[in-house]
């Protein structure tokens, strides 16, 4: 393990320990097993409320230095979510044609419903999966983001919801390469942070580990790559008194 790689068995052990801790912290991770096999993955979903600029001239992806972010985003939104949002991310719904609406003369008044203002902020759902890659002997982060209707966002759209300071880091950082990949277990398109540099940045972490406070490979790795795509790893994972994080 000190070589910076992680075999599948250790991966599952690390996941189990992470899960235990997540359960205590109610951090929302769960293990999804693939039917009839040992294989599986860690899964977590998160919500983010996003306020979108009414003029989302989709800029040239990439270069990053060119313009201010057009989307502001918070993972723990407070009241700001009320600002008017424009439907850039909402699939252009042309359901007028499809009315089929209810011809409800008597139904129209439901005074038991509180009026929630229609222009609420756009809620994005993020889904994160941690899988093991045999060929890289490393954990791999898969993720996708989608609207409340279930429409997956393009990378440009995800990009605009990544915090600007991370956006720069994502471009310059040697750790991360995002690519569009089919989820190896689900067969659905996901974004993936490519693990080609994982071994490189994990090696020093593992070499520096203290005999008495061993490192949970998956947890340490996640704390490095997670924030880049908006996935927070609470500090409490590492300040845990109760559970040991040593997989051996």
């Amino acid at each position: 393990m000190s070589r910076g790689v992680l075999d599948e068995e250790s991966f599952r052990l690390c996941c189990r320990l992470l899960l235990q801790r997540s359960e205590q912290l109610r951090d929302g991770w769960s293990w999804k097993a693939v039917q009839g096999s040992e294989e599986g993955y860690l899964r977590k979903t998160a919500l983010r409320s996003v306020v979108i600029d009414p003029s989302p001239a989709r800029d040239q992806e990439g270069s990053g230095s060119d313009s201010e972010p057009r989307t502001s985003c918070q993972s723990c939104p407070d009241q700001q979510g009320r600002e008017k949002e424009e439907s850039a991310l909402v699939a252009s719904v042309d359901t007028d044609r499809v009315s089929g609406a209810i011809d409800d003369d008597e139904d129209d008044e439901d005074d038991g419903v509180c009026t929630v203002s229609g222009g609420s902020s756009q809620v994005l759902q993020y889904e994160y999966h941690i899988l093991h890659s045999c060929s890289y002997a490393a954990p791999v982060l898969y993720f996708r983001a989608f609207t409340q209707e279930g429409r997956s966002l393009t990378l440009e759209e995800v990009w605009s919801s990544v915090h600007p300071s991370f956006r720069l880091r994502l471009q310059s950082s040697p750790l991360n390469t995002i690519s569009l990949q089919e989820h190896p277990l689900l067969g659905q398109p996901f974004f993936m942070l490519h693990p080609c540099r994982t071994e490189e940045f994990m090696r020093p972490v593992l070499q520096a580990q203290d005999q008495h406070r061993p490192v949970n490979y998956v947890l340490s790795w996640l704390s490095v790559v997670g924030p880049v795509v908006g996935l927070d790893v609470p500090l409490k994972y590492s300040t845990s008194p109760g559970s040991s994080t040593e997989p051996h």
Binding site: G62, V93, D107, T147, P234
Partner: protein, 720 residues
């Protein structure tokens, strides 16, 4: 969301309780799974299916009250995410949009409401209160366009007169002491453990100043001893401070119908349980008191509501277009683009991909070179590729020409130009490929046998002129020298970038043709030529000019600007003619080492891409082998004039050479004749022997002079 406004409105004394409706939330995986189910299980079966969703009471403030359906919604018996409450639903997936529209929504709602009402009457809902929280999902999946139409309904039974609030909603922490809150949390956790769940949708509650007791609904009779004030708890997904969420609605109907007449005041705890950064809190829950209206048992099913409004706030369905993430063709396109963008994000930040991707490429020849060039262009994301070839695929082709297969050779063989297009489209449906099965007239290959052949040649010329006009880059990838003459002339005249690749047995040349300056300056004089030179100080103007401006000898091999570079024919001292005559088979066909075409084809495309990255494009000064150590002119490196490769030595050199003023293809006099006389001039070239072009350009004279010089040399030799 809107909590401020609702708070402000909560002052009137005779206020009715209002509930925050569910807002449907679908995960991307749900639609993928629905698609699979529709294709593999349901097919045309429209009968209602059981599905499952869940809701959560731990959201941060400001998020809408959601009922979420994920990938696993179709596994009704599967686990519910920890600390979430399940909601069972009925899926009505119609086969047509019309059926979706005409489905009687009111009837669906009433049917579901009746079931809830019946379960309240029978007491079944007491035993399993999750029955109270149901939903209907009406869908139509257009799997051709990947458009999904859907409409959710969260049935709720209504009290005709509404529900009167006796005590305004307050935050739990304002009503309960810290001690009570701790006790409440413990009691809830104990109840969950007892019930073997991680979330309880509804519960009964009793409390004192420092203790809290909880029991499931079904224990009503034993647990509730005093009906003056009864406290019920509801797992509440709402985050508004003044309103409970939807799940409370049917519970109140149940309470009213079971015990309505006995109950004086009902206290409701909206139990909200949130964990942020590992810290759990429940003190932001909401507590209030109400008076339940009478709702006699055995009465008819009350009025029901519940269809969700669409984003416009209207009673109508929603539609989501998932073609971008579900249509395989769209997926292929975005994956290809993303891969290329990575090159830019990670390695070559200044790479201008759009310039490459949007370039329209004309490939003259769809053989070994054409196939390899096309594949490399596809790798670069080039979408617009046009083939011209007149041959059919023969049995020897597929092993060397990667766009063809054995099957393509059967029955006389398919035409290469069209077969190549078919294969490109199979490889990448997003490509915009076109094939033209046509011949390119050649010098020394007469076309004047008949009216028909002559007019055919004219049509071919016109077609080729049109194609060259419509494209940005012309690739010369034919197997004979003379077939390159006509496109060289036309492209030179139209100022189109030409990339030429030609193979020997183990040698190749890949080159760009010089790109003539704009027509206005050409023909005026050679002097004008240098003044319009668009390359800066590095161009030939900085070198000592020779006496004749057209031959600045000192810049023969370095710093030649793009407009002075030669073409494929510039280095030749004979005009192209019929090279297939009087030759053995191995001379007629290109016999080359098999790897050569792949190397040369790939280099031809890479050269084009490098040229496109140069700010001056085809006018860029030619890089030479000597520039290998210098600062490269583009983000991708050098922009040579020629790459000559020698496979025997595994070596490439980068020569550059000037345009030749007596060139049989790109010299001013040839272009002039072509532009003035058009097809008449061309047909003369096709029909005549070498000497026509050689006479025209002055090559004949040059030959005579050279021979004279050689005689001199010979006589020198003899003298020794």
């Amino acid at each position: 969301m809107a909590s401020d406004t609702s708070e402000a409105a909560s002052s009137p004394p005779d206020l009715k309780l209002q509930f925050a409706p569910f807002s449907s939330a679908l995960e991307a995986g749900f639609w993928h799974q629905l698609t699979q189910k529709k294709l593999n299980d349901y097919r045309l079966d429209e009968s209602p299916k059981s599905i499952k969703g869940y809701y959560y009471n731990g959201d941060p403030l400001g998020l809408p009250t959601r009922l979420t359906l994920e990938f696993s919604a179709f596994e009704v018996d599967g686990p519910t995410p920890a600390h979430c409450c399940p909601a069972t639903g009925t899926l009505y997936n119609t086969n047509t949009l019309d059926a979706f529209k005409t489905t009687d929504k009111k009837a669906l709602l009433e049917k579901e409401a009746k079931e809830i009402w019946d379960s309240i009457q029978s007491g079944a809902a007491l035993k399993d209160p999750s029955i109270l929280c149901k939903f209907i999902l009406l869908t139509f999946a257009d799997l051709k366009k990947y458009h999904f139409y859907y409409w959710f309904c969260f049935p709720a039974l209504c009290f005709p007169e509404g529900i009167k609030i006796i005590q305004q909603p307050s935050a739990l922490e304002q009503v309960f002491s810290a001690k009570q809150i701790t006790a409440l949390q413990e009691a809830y956790d104990v109840l969950c453990i007892k019930r073997g769940t991680t979330a309880e949708p509804y519960f009964l509650m009793k409390y004192t100043a420092d203790t809290v007791q909880m029991a499931p609904l079904e224990d009503w009779d034993t647990f509730i001893t005093d009906t003056k004030k009864v406290t019920v708890g509801v797992y509440d997904p709402c985050t508004l401070s003044q309103h409970p969420g939807w799940p409370l609605r049917n519970l109140l109907v149940l309470l009213a119908s079971q015990w309505g007449s006995k109950l004086d005041t009902v206290e409701v705890l909206c139990f909200r349980d949130r964990t942020l950064q590992g810290s759990r809190s429940i003190q932001h829950g909401v507590i209030f008191q109400i008076k339940l209206p009478e709702l006699p048992l055995n009465s008819a099913c009350p009025k029901s509501v519940g269809w969700e409004k669409n984003p416009k706030g209207a009673m109508g369905p929603r539609m989501v277009n998932l073609s971008e993430c579900m249509d395989p063709k769209r997926l292929a396109e975005s994956s290809v683009d993303l891969n290329l963008k990575l090159m830019r994000w990670r390695l070559v930040p200044s790479l201008d991909l759009d310039k490459v991707v949007s370039t329209k490429c004309l490939l003259l020849g769809a053989g070994t070179l054409g196939c390899n060039v096309a594949r490399t262009l596809m790798g670069w994301g080039v979408r617009h590729i046009t083939f011209v070839d007149n041959a059919k695929i023969s049995y020897s082709n597929p092993v060397r020409q990667p766009l063809y297969e054995f099957e393509d050779c059967l029955g006389g063989g398919k035409f290469k130009a069209t077969a190549a297009v078919d294969r490109l489209t199979k490889i990448f449906p997003g490509v915009n490929a076109e094939g033209h099965n046509m011949s390119i007239p050649m010098p020394g290959h007469p076309v004047n046998f008949s009216e028909a052949t002559l007019s055919q040649a004219q049509t071919d010329v016109e077609q080729l002129e049109k194609l060259i006009s419509e494209h940005d880059v012309v690739f010369l990838l034919m197997d004979t020298r003379e077939s390159r003459w006509l496109p060289t002339v036309i492209a030179a005249s139209k100022r189109k970038l030409v990339v030429n690749a030609a193979l020997g047995f183990d040698t190749f040349v890949v080159m760009r043709h010089g790109l003539k300056t704009a027509p206005v300056s050409r023909g005026v004089s050679a002097a004008a030529d240098s003044s319009t030179s668009c390359s800066s100080a590095s161009s030939s103007s900085s070198t000592p000019a020779g006496p004749a401006p057209s031959v600045p000898a000192s810049s023969l091999f370095s710093n030649i600007p793009g407009h002075k570079l030669g073409c494929y024919f510039c280095n030749d001292v004979v005009a192209p003619g019929d090279s297939t005559r009087d030759r053995t088979l191995d001379q007629q066909c290109t016999v080359s080492r098999p790897g050569l075409a792949m190397i040369a084809g790939a280099l031809a495309v890479e050269m084009m891409v490098s040229i496109l990255q140069h700010s001056e494009g085809g006018y860029a000064v030619a890089s030479s082998s000597d520039d290998r150590m210098n600062e490269p002119p583009t983000s991708l490196g050098l922009v040579p004039h020629q790459i000559r490769g020698f496979l025997s030595r595994f070596d490439n050199v980068l020569p550059a050479s000037m345009a030749f003023d007596k060139c049989t293809a790109c010299s001013p006099i040839v272009l002039d004749n072509y532009e003035r006389e058009g097809f008449n001039f061309l047909s003369n070239v096709f029909n005549s022997s070498h000497s026509f072009l050689e006479d025209l350009t002055g090559l004949t004279l040059l030959h005579q002079e050279t021979q004279a010089a050689e005689i001199w040399d010979l006589s020198d030799d003899e003298s020794i």
